[in-house]
C-alpha cells in the first residue's frame, strides 16, 4: 500500500455502466462516440478526479512525447537560455523536457544518454562535454531510431542534425573589428582544441590576421585559457612578453575576458587605449563592467527555439529518411567600450 490506487478508465466505466473503451474514446475526444455519453464521461472523470496515466498511454501508443536534453551545465547562461528557448516551443506542442547535465564529464554524458534511450524519448538534444571520448553513445541513439540533434559543441564526423553558430565567421569579424580599431598585436585565448567551437574560433582569428597581412605569432596564442582564472594567468604571461599584445581576444568566453580586464585594471593598463579586450557569449555582466566588454552574442534563447522547431518541422512531419541538416546561425558582434579607441592610430 505504498502508493494508493488512482482512478482509471475502468473505474469510470464501472460507475457509468460503460465499457472502458468507450470511456477511453470519450476522453480522447474521438468522433465515434455519442455527444451525450462524452459529456457524461467528462463530467464524472472530473468528479472522480481522474488523470490519465501517461506511461500507460505512451506505452500503448508506442511513442513518448518527450525530448531529452543533455548539456554540460544547466546553470550556465548560454545553456539555461537554450533550455528556456526549447521549453517555450516544446510546451506549446505538449512535449515534456527531461534535462540532464554532464558536468563536462564523458562518463556522465553516456549515462544520461542511456537513461534517455530507456525512456524512449522522441528526440535527444545534446551539446557534448569538454571531456571527450568515443561517440558510441551517440551512435546508440541513432541505432535506437531516436532523433538526435547536436548543437553548439558537436561531433562533426557524426551524421546528425546540427544547429551551430558560425563561430569562425563571428571570430573573423571580431578580430577584423580589432584590426580596424588600430590594434596591431592581437593575442588569442583559446579553448580546448578537440572541441569544434574552439577550433573554429581559432580559424576565424587566423583568417582575419592573414586577410589583413598580419603575421601569425605563436607567442600570442594561449591554449586552455577558458575560465576567468586561466584567462588572468594567460594575460599576465602575455603582458610580460618583450613585445606584449595591444589587444586580447578571449575567444573562449566572457569569463576569461573578465579575467583579462581584471588583470589590466590591477596593473593600471588603460582599456581600451592601451589594451583592447573582446570576449565571447554576451554574458549579462559584459554590459556593466567598466569599461563594458565587446563580445559576441549567440542569440541563445532563439537558438533554443530554432532547435526545437527543427525537430517539429523537419523530423516529425517527414517521417524518417530525412537528410540530416546543418543549421548555422550567424552570431552578432556587440561592440562596446573595451575595444573602442578614442585615439585611432
Amino acid at each position: 500500500m505504498k502508493r494508493q490506487k488512482r482512478t482509471t478508465i475502468y473505474d469510470i466505466a464501472q460507475r457509468l455502466n460503460l465499457a472502458a473503451s468507450s470511456v477511453s474514446r470519450a476522453l480522447s475526444d474521438s468522433p465515434k462516440v455519442n455527444a451525450a455519453t462524452k459529456a457524461l464521461v467528462l463530467k464524472t472523470a472530473l468528479e472522480m478526479n481522474y488523470q490519465q496515466n501517461a506511461m500507460a498511454s505512451n506505452l500503448r501508443k508506442g511513442n513518448n512525447p518527450t525530448i531529452g536534453v543533455v548539456v554540460p551545465r544547466i546553470n550556465q547562461n548560454f545553456f539555461s537560455n537554450i533550455i528556456a528557448g526549447l521549453e517555450e516551443v516544446t510546451y506549446k506542442k505538449g512535449y515534456n523536457l527531461i534535462i540532464c547535465q554532464s558536468n563536462e564529464l564523458h562518463a556522465r554524458e553516456v549515462d544520461c544518454v542511456n537513461a534517455l534511450i530507456n525512456q524512449h524519448v522522441s528526440c535527444i538534444i545534446i551539446s557534448i562535454a569538454a571531456e571527450t571520448g568515443d561517440h558510441n553513445h551517440l551512435q546508440q541513439v541513432l541505432d535506437h531510431h531516436i532523433r538526435l540533434i547536436q548543437f553548439d559543441r558537436v561531433v562533426e564526423e557524426l551524421d546528425t542534425f546540427k544547429v551551430i553558430n558560425d563561430n569562425e565567421r563571428a571570430s573573423f569579424e571580431a578580430v577584423t573589428h580589432l584590426i580596424e580599431q588600430g590594434y596591431k598585436r592581437i593575442a588569442l585565448l583559446e579553448g580546448p582544441q578537440d572541441i569544434n567551437i574552439f577550433r573554429q574560433r581559432k580559424e576565424g582569428y587566423l583568417a582575419a590576421l592573414k586577410n589583413n597581412g598580419f603575421p601569425i605569432l605563436e607567442e600570442l596564442m594561449c591554449e586552455n585559457a577558458w575560465t576567468k582564472e586561466l584567462g588572468a594567468v594567460a594575460t599576465v604571461q602575455l603582458l610580460n612578453l618583450p613585445e606584449p599584445p595591444d589587444a586580447i581576444f578571449a575567444s573562449t568566453s566572457d569569463f576569461s575576458a573578465l579575467g583579462v580586464l581584471e588583470v589590466a585594471t590591477d596593473k593600471g593598463i588603460s582599456v581600451p587605449d592601451a589594451l583592447g579586450i573582446c570576449g565571447y557569449s554576451n554574458e549579462p555582466f559584459t554590459e556593466i563592467t567598466s569599461p563594458s566588454i565587446t563580445t559576441v552574442d549567440q542569440y541563445s534563447v532563439s537558438m533554443g527555439k530554432t532547435i526545437a522547431n527543427l525537430f517539429f518541422q523537419e523530423m516529425e512531419v517527414f517521417e524518417h529518411s530525412v537528410e540530416p541538416k546543418i543549421v548555422s546561425i550567424k552570431p552578432k558582434l556587440i561592440v562596446r567600450k573595451s575595444t573602442q579607441r578614442k585615439i585611432s592610430s
Copy 2:
C-alpha cells in the same frame, strides 16, 4: 512503420530459448537465476543492442523515478542554480528530472502541474508564479498522492513540505547593516506583496527600522520595483523627494539594485558615500559593478541539493504519513563596496 521495433526481452528469450521472465530476472540481477545464464543473457543483450523500456517497466512497477520541477523561469540565475543542485543529487539516485517553466503565468503553471501528474512523477518541486490564482492544482497534487515540495515562493497556507530562505532575517540584517554604516533614511524597493518572499523581506525591513528607533516612512517604500527598469524609475522618484533617501534597499533583486546604481551614476551621485545600495540574490554581476554591490546570497545550488535530499531522506524512507516539514535556510549578507562608507557619520 513509423517507429521501428526495438529489441525486447522476448527477442532475447527467443534467441536463447529461454522464457521472458528469466531474461527479465537476469537483467535485473535477481539472485534467483543461474550465474551462467545471467552472464549469457547480459552478453546477448549487449549484442542485440537491448535497452530496457522504462515506460513499460515503470508502469508495471507502479512508480516512476522521476521528479517534476516547475519554476517561473529556467534561465534565471537563482532557478537554474536550484535545478543544477537538484540534478546533482537526483542523478546519483537514478532519478530523472522533468523541467517546466511557468513564465510567471498561473494558467501555465496549472498546465505544467497537470502534465506532471499525468506522468505519475514521484514528486513535484515548485516555486510559484508571480501571477497568483487559486491553489487547486497544488491540492490536486496532494490528492493524487504525489509528494509536493514548495521552495522559495510558497503558498504558506498549504500544508506541504517547504524549503525557504529566512528572508525576513536576511532583510533585517541587510537593513541593520545599512543603519550601522550610518545611513539615516533607508528606502525600500518592494516586490508584489502577494508573494511570501517579498512580504517577508518587507517585514525584515520594518523590524530593523523599529529595532533602531527609526521612523517608518511610507514615502520611502516603493511597490513593484522588481526589475532593473522599474528599479530605475522608482529611484528617480525617490531622489526627487524633498528629503531623498541616503540608502536604497532593493529587496526584490539585484537587477533592481542595478537600476538604482545606474541612475545614481547618471546623476553623479556618489555610491556609497551619498547613497548606499543593497540588492538581493548575489547575481554574479554584483561582484563586478563599480562599485560592487552589497547583496544577499541564497546558496541556490546547495538549496537545490537540500530540496532533493529532503525528498529522498524524509519522504522516500518513511512512507506516507510524514508530517510536512519546513526547512529554513539562513541566507548570507555579502557586504561589498556599495554600502561601505569611508566617512561613517
